[in-house]
Every structure is written in structure tokens, then in C-alpha cells.
């Protein structure tokens, strides 16, 4: 059984016993719309991500990929539509009206999610370890000693144990992104969102970050990855989403989408990428 089929089987299998949202998809999106003023960036997105599934999102720039990802973790509020994380709504449309959900509920529900940014967004006034334990101490209210222990494990996991006391300014781009991943993993999210995690990196540093993400894939972390790395999308995703002009044009397994897409627009895009 290949890695991929194992993952697909896991995705369809029963959820953990005692999970209140048993059976619910990790992420469920319905008719998601997002506008900035007059500019309609997302025009009706429907998407389900199963637990353990790895979904890559590709498409031309300006197609709304990043905005969609940012809506999932409520960095942008949906203008219209429903978003559920493990069965719990952070946006809900009901009878054509947008329900209001309290900020604290949304924040709580979004803690199942982690996000890694294109520009890392490390805290410059904290060391690598300081970055990783910040959420544990402030949000999870973990005792410092315990947080440090877990923080060190996380740095170890991304291969940066020796950089624990180094400030971000003295790290390379690849190292920064790995610290950012460690910082997010420390919060033990069920789902990781990656927003073009290697786009700001020098070409020779892309590999070390992709290796870390691949390790996560092997551990069957649920992931949604917006990426320009076609080889990554092709090798690791269970499904690939192609977006254009604020809509999902096609969702298909990589072997289908990369070789025989239904839509001519995708073929044109892929030709340009190669």
C-alpha cells in the first residue's frame, strides 16, 4: 500500500473515539464570498478537506488562493458563506443571512488550525526558542519549564535545536521558516495551513523547508498548502485545487489535474509554470 492510499484510507476512516465532531470534515466551506470594497476576491467557494488529507491550492496570482486560506483561519472575515472547522462554524450563512459568531468563539475554534506565512512573521524581539514557546506560555498558559521542554522538541523536529538562543535576524530564510513551522506545531493544531511557505526563499533554501513539510505529510497532518511548487503539489497532495478569478475551477487528484485537466485554463497555466 503506497503512502497515498494509506492516507486516503485514513481520511475516510472513523474519527477518533470521543471526538465531538466525529465524522465531520476537518474543513468545510460552502458558498464562501469575500469582497474588499467593490473588489470581489472570492466568488463562491465550496471545499471539503477530510482529516489527514493534504490539499494543494494552485492558480495564477490574484486568483484568491491566499485570501481563501486567510478566511479559513479568520484573518479575513468571510463576507458571505459558511466555514466550519471540525464541524464548528467560524462563519455561517443561514437563509441568506450571515449569522454573527462571537470573536472569542471564533478564536477558540480557530485554535484547531495553524498557519505558516510566506514572510515567516517571526517575532524579532524573541529568540528562536522564545518564538516557539510564546503561544504555549501566553495562550496555552503552560508552565515555563514545560513550554521550554516542548519548544526544544519542536526545534529539534525542524532540525534547529542548535539555534535555540538565536534571534531571527541572524537566521537564514529557510531557518526562519522552519522556526515559524515549529512555533505553530508547538500549539498542536489538527490542521496546518501554508501560505506559499517557500515563495520568499532563495532557491537553495526551498528544499530544507519542503523537507519539514514532507515530514508532516508523512505523519498525516491535515494540510492545505497554497503553493507555486508544482513538484510539491504533484508528489504530496491527495487532491489539487485549481483556482482562478475567485473560483475553484477544478479539484482533482494530482495525477489527473497535472496530466489531463478538464479545463483548458489549467493546461495553459501549467504550460506557463514549466
Amino acid at each position: 500500500m503506497s503512502d497515498q492510499t494509506a492516507r486516503n484510507a485514513a481520511a475516510g476512516g472513523p474519527a477518533t473515539v470521543g471526538d465531538p465532531a466525529a465524522g465531520a470534515p476537518a474543513i468545510r466551506v460552502r458558498t464562501l464570498h469575500k469582497s474588499f470594497g467593490d473588489l470581489e476576491v472570492l466568488r463562491g467557494i465550496d471545499l471539503d478537506v477530510a482529516p489527514g488529507e493534504i490539499v494543494s491550492v494552485i492558480g495564477p496570482s490574484g486568483s484568491g488562493k491566499s485570501t481563501m486560506l486567510r478566511c479559513l483561519i479568520h484573518l479575513e472575515a468571510a463576507t458571505r458563506g459558511t466555514i466550519e472547522i471540525e464541524g464548528q462554524a467560524i462563519a455561517r450563512e443561514h437563509d441568506g443571512r450571515q449569522e454573527s459568531i462571537s470573536e472569542s468563539k471564533i478564536r477558540h475554534r480557530c485554535r484547531r488550525l495553524g498557519m505558516v506565512f510566506q514572510n515567516f512573521n517571526l517575532f524579532p524581539h524573541k529568540t528562536a526558542l522564545g518564538n516557539v514557546i510564546e503561544g504555549l506560555i501566553v495562550v496555552a498558559r503552560m508552565p515555563r519549564a514545560e513550554a521550554v521542554e516542548r519548544g526544544e522538541q519542536m526545534l529539534e523536529r525542524v532540525g534547529l535545536a542548535d539555534k535555540r538562543d538565536v534571534y531571527p535576524a541572524y537566521l537564514s530564510g529557510g531557518q526562519k521558516q522552519r522556526v515559524a513551522i515549529a512555533r505553530m506545531l508547538a500549539m498542536q493544531p489538527d490542521i496546518m495551513l501554508f501560505d506559499e511557505p517557500t515563495s520568499a526563499l532563495d532557491p537553495e533554501l526551498v528544499g530544507e523547508v519542503l523537507t519539514v513539510i514532507k515530514d508532516l505529510a508523512r505523519e498525516r497532518m491535515t494540510m492545505v498548502v497554497v503553493t507555486h511548487e508544482m513538484s510539491f503539489a504533484r508528489e504530496l497532495s491527495d487532491r489539487v485545487v485549481f483556482m482562478d478569478a475567485g473560483q475553484i475551477v477544478e479539484i482533482a487528484p494530482p495525477e489527473k489535474l497535472f496530466t489531463d485537466p478538464d479545463h483548458p485554463r489549467i493546461r495553459t497555466f501549467l504550460e506557463k509554470m514549466l
Binding site: L113, G114, M115, P124, E134, G135, V138, V139, M187
Partner: protein, 215 residues
């Protein structure tokens, strides 16, 4: 020689008042400015509107005029607000400098990249936690140079209270100048201001050095 020494000693007695005014102003206006800045970036109109009015009026009128207004004008309007000279001066300076610090800190807070808020947010932090743990510590580093500038200006601005007849450095030297018909007291006063500011520049330099650990 003894003349110079006596004169210097006399002028230095005024330095006590200058330093007291300087210290009081900083001690109160820095935290006030800080709070005002947090209020201004909160985006709540009940806070931003009055704060906007406050900073534009205070920064838009001369400090000297404000001194006259608080010491001579206020008691005419509201008799209860009659202050002793030094109190009036200190109040005016605090109100005046706090307005500048509000704007300096506001600028500092707003110069922090949006990505910092987003990173804090995805870790699950509240707005308050984000401000206290992430944004404000970075702001402090960024505002050090403009705060140093204000502090240096403040040392020199204390000379303005001479118009209220407070015996600080400048008034004491002026006294000697008109008594003895010599300008050396002015030179001495100038040197004292210079020394004070040199000390400040050194102090702020040390603080910036300490923050240079990152970036």
C-alpha cells in the same frame, strides 16, 4: 577665578529646578503619551476623537503661550485652577510633552508590521495579549531615537519658564548678567545645558545599544 566659581555655583542652584522640571515632565508625560497612543490605535471613536483634538491643539500652539495660559489665563476663567508657579509650569510641560509622545508612540505602534498581529492571532492571542507581548515591546525599541530627541528638546525648553520668574538656570544667569554687566554667565549656562544633554545622549545611546541585540 573665584568670581567664575561663585557665578557657576549660583547658576547651578537653578539647575536643580531645571532638573526637577525635566524629571517630572518625563515621569508623567511618557506613561500618559503611551496610554494615549494605545487609545489612539484602538480605533474607538470615544477615544480617538478627544485624543485627536488634544494632540492637534497642544502641538499646534506655542509652549510659551500654553505656559501663559495655564499660569495667568486659567485662574481668570476658573479661580480654583490657580497654581503655584512651578506647579503651573510642570503641568503645562506634562500636558505639552504627553501630546508629542502620544504621536511618537502611535507612529511606533503603527510601524509594526501587520504580519506580527497575524502571527500572534494564529497562535490564538487576544488583541490585548498581542499588544502587550508582541507589539509594544517592539515599539519601545523603535521610539527610542525620537524620544531621545524630545528629551533633549525638553532640557532646553525648561528655559521657557523664565517668563514665570522661576529661578532655573537661565533666570539665574540672566540675573548675574544684568548685575555685573558681563556675558560670561550666559556662556556658563550654555555649557551646563550642553553637559546635561551630553549625558542624555550617552544614556539613550546605551539604551539603544541594549536593544540592538535583535535586528
Amino acid at each position: 577665578m573665584t568670581y567664575l566659581l561663585d557665578t557657576t555655583t549660583y547658576i547651578l542652584q537653578g539647575a536643580g529646578i531645571t532638573l526637577r522640571l525635566f524629571a517630572l515632565t518625563l515621569i508623567f508625560s511618557l506613561p500618559l503619551g503611551f496610554l494615549g497612543a494605545v487609545g489612539k490605535v484602538s480605533g474607538r471613536r470615544v477615544l480617538t476623537l478627544p485624543l485627536g483634538l488634544y494632540t492637534s491643539v497642544v502641538r499646534g500652539t506655542p509652549l510659551l503661550l500654553q505656559l501663559f495660559f495655564v499660569y495667568y489665563g486659567l485662574p481668570l476663567m476658573i479661580p480654583a485652577l490657580r497654581f503655584e508657579r512651578f506647579t503651573a509650569a510642570a503641568l503645562t510641560f506634562i500636558i505639552n510633552y504627553a501630546a508629542y509622545f502620544v504621536e511618537i508612540f502611535r507612529g511606533g505602534i503603527q510601524s509594526i508590521d501587520r504580519g506580527q498581529y497575524e502571527a500572534a492571532r494564529v497562535l490564538g492571542m487576544t488583541y490585548r495579549q498581542t499588544m502587550v507581548r508582541i507589539v509594544l515591546p517592539q515599539t519601545l525599541k523603535r521610539v527610542l531615537p525620537p524620544v531621545a530627541n524630545e528629551a533633549i528638546t525638553l532640557v532646553k525648553d525648561t528655559a521657557l519658564v523664565v517668563v514665570l520668574g522661576i529661578g532655573e538656570i537661565l533666570r539665574n544667569s540672566k540675573e548675574v548678567v544684568s548685575r555685573d554687566f558681563t556675558i560670561s554667565p550666559f556662556v556658563i549656562a550654555g555649557v551646563i545645558y550642553l553637559v546635561l544633554n551630553y549625558g542624555l545622549v550617552w544614556l539613550f545611546g546605551r539604551m539603544e545599544q541594549r536593544y540592538r541585540v535583535y535586528e
